[in-house]
């Protein structure tokens, strides 16, 4: 998918995320809006994975380590036709498989996540399995920045470097907020790039809400042969909705009716602007 098409997808995905969260009256609103551009680029531009090849051992793998931002993943998997979009109407309902953190009961999900600090280890195991079998697929995982205080992340990082897993792509959704407030106030993470480099990663920092930058950085994989890849995606929590952006209070808050209308209007405007831009480009 081309960059301009990905840009439109991101806007539409944001609307859908808000819509299913509003409908369910539950969800991790701001974190889903933060990581949706990364998921968009992964599933629509980078990864070789689809409902048709989901049992193929050579498919690329994605592990949603920041499991709480599951609404973003559900929306993308529905768009990729892993299940009908209407299935998301059951989000968080009695006996629905679409619970608040991903499980393998949902087609397209590789691993149950939700407790933080688990996804990277699992991704390391899959990447090791690929190396053992001589397969060339890659393993991608998105971690939240708040998640990085879990010690197991660093255990997994050591092993990724030790086994030279250049088929592993760890992405940090660096939106600088966690449920309590600023990550730097809760438990300081910086200097994060230096930490990852010293653990043996090849690190690239990008604007994680800019699909063009994301497309460009994924095209450079592997960043350095023999080193695990770490993408420090600088993002804005709640990106795309003015009153949610960069506010700690929106970690799992659901918009009220008025807020929801405002958000929809803002995203409609964004889509109109996108179409105008496209029209101008096409008119040239």
């Amino acid at each position: 998918m081309e960059v301009h098409e990905l840009e439109l997808k991101s806007i539409q995905y944001r609307r859908r995320i808000l819509s299913i969260i509003k409908n369910a009256n539950a969800g991790h609103t701001a974190g889903s809006l933060s990581c949706i551009d990364i998921l968009n680029v992964l599933y629509n531009h980078v990864m070789n994975v689809s409902p048709e090849n989901f049992s193929n051992p050579d498919r690329d793998r994605y592990i949603h380590s920041k499991g709480h931002s599951v609404e973003a993943l559900y929306v993308v998997l529905a768009d990729k036709a892993f299940y009908p979009s209407e299935a998301l109407d059951t989000l968080s309902q009695y006996q629905s498989h679409f619970v608040g953190h991903p499980t393998r009961k949902v087609n397209g999900v590789e691993q149950n996540t939700g407790a933080l600090g688990h996804g990277l280890s699992v991704a390391v195991g899959i990447a090791l399995g690929a190396k053992k079998d001589g397969r060339s697929y890659r393993v991608y995982t998105i971690m939240g920045d708040g998640e990085l205080t879990e010690g197991s992340v660093w255990e997994a990082s050591m092993s990724a470097a030790h086994y030279k897993l250049d088929n592993l792509v760890a992405i940090v959704d660096r939106n600088t907020l966690q449920i309590t407030g600023r990550t730097e106030d809760v438990m300081a993470l910086e200097p994060l790039e230096d930490k990852f480099r010293s653990f043996g990663y090849a690190v690239r920092a990008v604007d994680g809400n800019d699909v063009a930058e994301l497309v460009n950085v994924f095209a450079q994989l592997p960043f350095e042969p023999g080193k695990p890849n770490l993408i420090l995606a600088q993002t804005v929590k709640g990106k795309g909705v003015s009153y949610i952006e960069d506010r700690a209070g929106w970690h799992h808050r659901v918009p009220n009716d008025e807020e929801f209308s405002t958000a929809v209007a803002e995203l409609q405007l964004a889509e109109q602007e996108w179409r105008k831009r496209r029209g101008l480009i096409e008119a040239r």
């Binding site: 691993q111 149950n112 688990h118 280890s121 690929a130």
Partner: protein, 313 residues
């Protein structure tokens, strides 16, 4: 019964069995947490270096990585001291393995009070209880070399998560040559009408010897090796309760949440009331000493068990 022949440590039997299985199956992988020496896996690592993955002293990562490897079709044996494996990595066992249904084979070595004199940091007296309350993980504690060998053979293709634990001292051979082993099916070693001792893991040999003492005293005694704690062989327990006047359970585990608790709750739910005593490690600051000394302290000896059994009659 004749007197029992002393075999080899279950740990050794595990390591030898795994090596011979792995030689024929390249999908078998061992993951260790700086525990290949403790796991008697140095020969394995020398002969099949491509089939062992060292994770360092990092049990959480060990289990998470094992889940990832299992998802790619590997037959993963995550080998680590039972105390660390089931406590430090409990959340990874719960989520990455059991909840995600990744068929990792978790091997808890030097289980129970095998590391007796090293103190409670190194004991695993909680593992049946902790893992038993987690959905989708089987729990097996083989008693002797035969049960260990058969367990390891059976778990290679076991399609769901499973935890196996054993110790490191030589074990008595308990079984007849024609014995049959199946995960989830208890083995009745002897039938008795006065008392049946239901035991799991390494104390089974103490139970068999206690049974001999009781028989010598004219008491009809049965012994069941309940190698699988979960899924529990309910029928074997109920049959023993119908056959005998009293039951004794014996385990190398806290008296809370293990074999005894499982049997007691089953009997209550089925409305069967027989005198029952749960023998294990009581809920106290565990005494120090060797495994044998700790067993003796808490009455897990032929004489101690025979005495406890007699008191029930």
């Amino acid at each position: 019964m004749d007197s029992l022949k002393l075999g080899r440590p279950n740990l050794e039997v595990f390591a030898n069995t795994l090596l011979s299985l792995a030689r024929q199956n390249g999908d078998i992988l061992v993951t260790t947490s700086d525990s290949r020496g403790s796991g008697k896996l140095v020969p394995f690592s020398e002969k099949l270096p491509e089939q062992i993955v060292e994770m360092g002293i990092a049990e959480q990562n060990l289990v998470g990585v094992s889940a990832g490897l299992a998802s790619t079709g590997k037959k993963v044996f995550a080998v680590s001291p039972a105390c660390f494996l089931t406590t430090r990595a409990l959340e990874q066992i719960k989520n990455d393995v059991a909840y995600s249904d990744q068929p990792v084979k978790l091997i808890g070595i030097s289980a129970g009070v095998s590391y007796g004199a090293l103190g409670s940091t190194h004991h695993s007296l909680h593992d049946y209880a902790a893992l038993g309350a987690i959905n989708n993980i089987a729990i097996v504690a083989p008693a002797d070399n035969f049960e260990t060998r058969e367990t390891i053979k059976a778990v290679v293709d076991y399609p769901h998560p499973i935890y196996v634990r054993f110790g490191k001292r030589p074990m008595h051979d308990l079984h007849q040559p024609d014995a049959q082993f199946k995960i989830g099916r208890a083995i009745v070693l002897a039938e008795g009408t006065d008392v049946t001792i239901i035991a799991s893991g390494e104390p089974v040999s103490q139970a068999v010897m206690a049974c001999q003492l009781l028989e010598d005293q004219g008491i009809s005694c049965g012994v069941i090796s309940m190698h699988t704690l979960k899924p529990l062989d309910r029928e074997a327990v109920l049959a023993a309760a119908r056959r005998s006047r009293a039951l004794l359970t014996v385990e190398e585990h806290s008296v809370y949440g293990g074999l005894g608790s499982l049997c007691a709750s089953l009997l209550m739910e089925e409305g069967i009331s027989v005198p029952l005593k749960i023998v294990g490690i009581p809920d106290e600051y565990t005494v120090t000493g060797s495994q044998a000394a700790i067993f003796a302290h808490y009455g897990i000896t032929p004489e101690g068990l025979a005495k406890t059994a007699r008191a029930l009659l």
